[in-house]
Symmetry: C2
Subunit: 212 residues, 2 copies
Amino acid sequence: MNHSQGKVSLPVIKRLPKYYRYISQMQQNGVVKVSSSELARMMGTTASQVRQDFNCFGGFGQQGIGYNVDVLLHEIGRLLFGEGEKLPTILVGAGRLGRAVSRFLTTDTNGYHLLAVFDVQQELVGQDLDGIPIHHIDELESFCAAHKPQVAVLCLPREGAKEISGRLVDLGIRGFWNFSHYDLSIPYPNVTVENAHLGDSLMSLGYRLRND
Amino acid sequence: MNHSQGKVSLPVIKRLPKYYRYISQMQQNGVVKVSSSELARMMGTTASQVRQDFNCFGGFGQQGIGYNVDVLLHEIGRLLFGEGEKLPTILVGAGRLGRAVSRFLTTDTNGYHLLAVFDVQQELVGQDLDGIPIHHIDELESFCAAHKPQVAVLCLPREGAKEISGRLVDLGIRGFWNFSHYDLSIPYPNVTVENAHLGDSLMSLGYRLRND
DNA sequence: TAGATTGTTAATCGATTAACAATC
DNA sequence: TAGATTGTTAATCGATTAACAATC
């Protein structure tokens, strides 16, 4: 065990969820022990990379033996989801995309607690999404002052996103999961942003298809 | 003008949609000309990278002058969306995510033509999504034989995705936009796959928030 | 002890950035 | 011509892969 972590690179971080998925499946299949080369084969990478990745966090294995599946899953889970404390989260935009994404937050992942949904449409206010109440966007300030959410998920058009994200930063939001076409990365460098533009992902698929 | 393209690297391809978005906005604002350094500032990168990127495709500018916005948008659009011919596409899974994603395919992007939606649920069969008919999954074979779709968008659970993707490859699908948690990249190396696991993206945001 | 497999250092590879000659 | 800015080659940086010593 060496350096518990001195700034882990983004490529490594982005691989953690994939490790988590594969190791989680192994546990469900009753597998107890795994080697870096077995993991590498599944992940489509090299044993070297697997060991390098895990050693960014101090190393989870035993020399000569391999990795214990339970230990590995627990440690990576802890990295991704913390120590059981969940990130208080709000969702802005209750359109089709917002409704789909809320499912992920409430049932398909750990580490997040969805407190409320906001929308501009008066018709939606008072309704709920999987039991989470929909508020009018004007209540953003009072709600955030009272409940101090840390993460905001943006499922709204570009125009709205620019204005709303500014307000949210002022209200203390530290992390954005951004599906709007407005690019948040530059204006708020001290806030963590995960841009998930569906359109971008689809466009690059098109290019690759035409040119492979 | 040099090499029209001798295998462009994935990082470059993934930046194309972002260039497209920014340049598109400039055109809407009536901007006629742009330099690599202006683009770099907007994109949050260096002028060097902008020029290197464009030169993967032969270079779109004029020495001493800069880049013409119309030309740039047209050329990058051509790379992303082709010459007007749209990729015949099907969507598998008409749940919340499928309904959200269909919107992107039909109205928020170019280059794709959504032919049909498939689902296992009998109640949905016969209904439509933005005018696109929902078929039962059992009709996949006959439909594909008749209409020869090239792209499949997977919005279904992991278990379904494994089986369905195998069938789709046999039916001639060349490209997948995969939202399921099942990882397609390894089993079908000769097919283009864009994995867009929402869960993965959300998990890495969590890690970054806790450790920044 | 011998075999297996990790942790860790060194080598390679690829992507980004810098420099500069070409040219408008 | 002088200034601006690209296209392109060279240098740097970071990430991946290989090698090997430590250790179970």
